[in-house]
């Protein structure tokens, strides 16, 4: 019997469950290593060489090098672990979260000041809210 996963139909959202955690174990543990200042320095000096010390998949390494957090999450990353990469880069949590929407920093910040993203149309895949797949990327990037 398979496990119940009632959260798979929430748009633009990946729940970090046991399956994702298994896929992302080494990716997340690499992120964890960036909690030490000496490791941050080594990573910044040669990112590829540092990543090659970890038994991560090539896709995970490429996603990290590209700083594509959506790709990292798909490959098993968890945002609280991935945040260590952002901290190493000097990025705020708001910059990191915003980067996953396609919006510019200003666009995302303005959305938050105006009360944030509405849940309307964003509860279930197939509705018409701004987090749905057919509205990506968001902001000006999606209007080109």
């Amino acid at each position: 019997m398979s496990l119940e996963k009632p959260y798979l139909d929430v748009p633009g959202t990946t729940i970090f469950d046991a399956e994702q955690s298994r896929l992302g174990y080494h990716l997340n543990q690499f992120c964890m290593s960036l909690m030490k200042a000496a490791n941050r320095e080594r990573f910044k000096a040669n990112e590829r060489a540092y990543l090659d010390e970890w038994p991560m998949t090539e896709e995970q390494k490429q996603a990290v090098l590209a700083r594509d957090l959506n790709r990292c999450i798909k490959a098993g990353g968890n945002i609280y672990f991935l945040a260590k990469i952002g901290a190493t880069d000097g990025k705020s949590f708001q910059q990191m979260a915003g980067s996953m929407t396609g919006m510019t920093e200003e666009e995302y910040r303005d959305m938050m000041i105006k009360g944030g993203r509405s849940a309307e149309g964003n509860r279930i895949i197939g509705e018409d809210g701004d987090a749905q797949a057919h509205h990506q990327p968001q902001g000006k990037a999606g209007k080109k």
């Binding site: 968890n78 949590f93 979260a97 929407t101």
Partner: protein
């Protein structure tokens, strides 16, 4: 006998800690957030507890994926503020209360909750931001703190109902401690927020305010909210609200006492990616 006199509920957004540490609290963006805690700082001075039992979650700081305890109680004599990647927050070391913490651990485990006992642990913004919001920037925190970390990072996290029941067990544990201690229990995290994916930035004021109403007046109904409702309505990280139910479950009315007095209620959007909610509930004699 030790007694739980009040419960405090608050978001623990890391950017709030950064705003305090960098002296930005009077900037227009932050001023409304901190305004909401002016009452609370005075209340803390007027109602100084002997111990704070602080329910929070670790954000991949003390617990990596090597070990993922669902419920972890800190029984150490002190806990150091962690370097979360930006350098440690310039806040006092947190003094523990090993005697009461060990007592609670033993009592709660005997009530069938499998706690992980932690004798060495750094504490992250989940614990230190609530202390900063409630106490300001003192040289030392006003009293010992027992850190109680809940896994809300890897699914499945404990249900609201289980957290609520755990609160009841904690109340019984505290009240079976012989020394006269004034104990506050704090539930932290939330309110609505999502930090990941194209749906990042989700905020739901209606859900949050309904949750505050329920938490005050019908906590059993709040405890019955299933995990998926938090995700759909309050964002994937809104699930942190289950931690508020631990504190609420420890209040006297859950065990036949009088309903608590609402000493303070505050709500503001946004702080960074998050809706800030805050309540102070006092047990009535």
């Amino acid at each position: 006998m030790a007694k739980i006199t009040a419960s405090v509920y608050t978001s623990h957004v890391p950017a709030i800690g950064a705003a305090i540490d960098l002296g930005k609290t009077q900037e227009p963006y932050w001023q409304p957030v901190f305004q909401g805690y002016e009452f609370s700082k005075q209340w803390m001075k007027d109602n100084k507890p002997d111990v704070i039992f602080l329910v929070y979650n670790d954000h991949a700081t003390a617990f990596s994926l090597e070990m993922i305890p669902t419920f972890a109680i800190g029984t150490a004599a002190e806990f150091t503020p962690a370097d979360e990647g930006y350098g440690a927050r310039p806040v006092p070391v947190v003094q523990g209360h090993p005697e009461l913490a060990s007592h609670i651990a033993q009592s709660v485990i005997q009530q069938d909750f499998d706690l992980t006992i932690v004798n060495k642990m750094d504490v992250d913004h989940g614990l230190t931001v609530p202390l900063s919001l409630m106490c300001g920037q003192p040289q030392a925190w006003p009293c010992p703190v027992i850190p109680f970390a809940v896994n809300v990072v890897q699914y499945p996290v404990p249900s609201g109902q289980r957290c609520f029941n755990l609160g009841k067990a904690i109340r019984r544990a505290v009240e079976s401690f012989d020394k006269d201690l004034n104990v506050q229990i704090w539930g932290t995290g939330g309110m609505s927020h999502q930090l990941q994916g194209p749906r990042a930035g989700l905020i739901n004021k209606e859900f949050d305010n309904a949750f505050l109403d329920k938490l005050i007046a019908d906590p059993a109904a709040a405890a019955a909210i299933p995990h998926i409702d938090y995700v759909r309505e309050a964002g994937s990280e809104g699930i942190e609200l289950v931690m508020w139910l631990i504190a609420r479950g420890a209040m006297a009315d859950i065990d036949g006492g009088k309903p608590p007095k609402v000493a303070h209620r505050f709500y503001h959007v946004p702080a960074s990616n998050t809706a800030v909610g805050h309540l102070i509930l006092e047990n009535q004699r």
